[in-house]
Symmetry: C2
Subunit: 217 residues, 2 copies
């Protein structure tokens, strides 16, 4: 599949690298076509990898990942252009973390909305699915790293087929189908985004990011 | 031990009943001495159980539980009186849920504060420890009900000895010592209180409250 990964931070590069391993054609999108991390990624992954600006990457991808920083996501997606994302599935991994008040970060949108809802409202013709935002990126693409892969991830979105596609992508990443919980429509992303403050305290208490939650019932 | 449980809802009665089972002397505190649920509790538990208003209950208890509704907690604790709670440990189980906008509830304090911090700031001579607020009360007092008890609970508080006492109470409830995670000072209660929006979506998706999270690492 042709997949665009928007954002060249550690999350974007980790996702993009996994997608290349799985055989996809991947274009990393950045503000500038000369983004060094994107060019590094292309150099390392040769024929399956490309890099460009947000708009060209969005136009290239049949499926899109939002791996930009939460505070910059709306602006990045405006640069990507709704016309380039129309009718496509956008997997939103970003969290609306606000580092301006120091550590740990607070959330800049929460409680009565979420970043995923803001993106869906701003780009109504895009099929936004919130996923994978509740863990460190190393676990996103390698759930077997901890607990024999027996822990959970979540999807939130308004479009049923879009969520089915995202589930298949997650299964290809190594997630067991039964460990992917559909929370409901895009507003349920409030739940997973607002989990971040607990994640941050667990990270501080554990001194490691290699953990995730399992729902025990 | 003499223990006061403030609040006569299902959480308060569940905690109070467990404490009686464990051999403690328990006084349920309510706004009124004639609270029917408290009188029911006394009738069922005879010699180990008493009921009174918040102030008398707080004076009676060597250890206190806040099981009032989050929206009413500060007012209830003002009625309890700081002089009656001075130097005592208060286990705060309440969550600042706001049902005024419909279901699911939002949070009335979050992000840059928490209910637990508000209580600690308002009553500086009380040793506030946030605990057990991340699950249904049936699991609080019977963690073995699910997953062989292998899931986690959290404590947040500024006083080390207070947290040690709370850990022992949790162990007496059936929690394994290793499954009680100390998140740090009282500000870390932001993490556990802000987990509630995810809990509420999991509850809706599962259609059951009998679940909890396990940290897998």
């Amino acid at each position: 599949m042709k997949i665009a990964v928007l954002g060249t931070g550690v999350v974007g590069v980790t996702i993009a690298t996994k997608l290349v391993e799985l055989g996809h054609q991947v274009m990393l999108g950045a503000r500038s076509k000369e983004n060094e991390k994107a060019l590094d990624f292309v150099e390392k992954n040769k024929s399956q990898a490309q890099a460009s600006n947000y708009a060209e990457a969005a136009a290239f991808g049949e499926l899109l990942f939002n791996c930009t920083k939460g505070e910059a996501s709306i602006e990045a997606l405006l640069l990507a252009g709704e016309e380039n994302m129309k009718d496509k599935v956008l997997i939103d991994i970003a969290n609306p973390l606000d580092f301006s008040q120091g550590m740990p970060p607070t959330l800049s949108v929460l409680n009565t909305s979420s970043l995923a809802e803001m993106i869906q409202a701003k780009f109504p013709e895009v099929k936004v699915v919130k996923a994978l935002n509740t863990m460190w990126c190393g676990i996103m693409v390698n759930p077997q790293m901890i607990g024999d892969g027996e822990h959970h991830t979540f999807v939130s979105g308004n479009d049923k087929e879009a969520k089915m596609l995202v589930r298949q992508i997650l299964v290809s990443f190594g997630w067991k189908e039964t460990n992917i919980i559909d929370l409901g429509d895009i507003s349920t992303a409030r739940g997973t985004e607002m989990y971040l403050p607990l994640w941050l305290r667990l990270y501080a208490a554990n001194n490691s990011a290699a953990f995730n939650i399992k729902i025990v019932s």
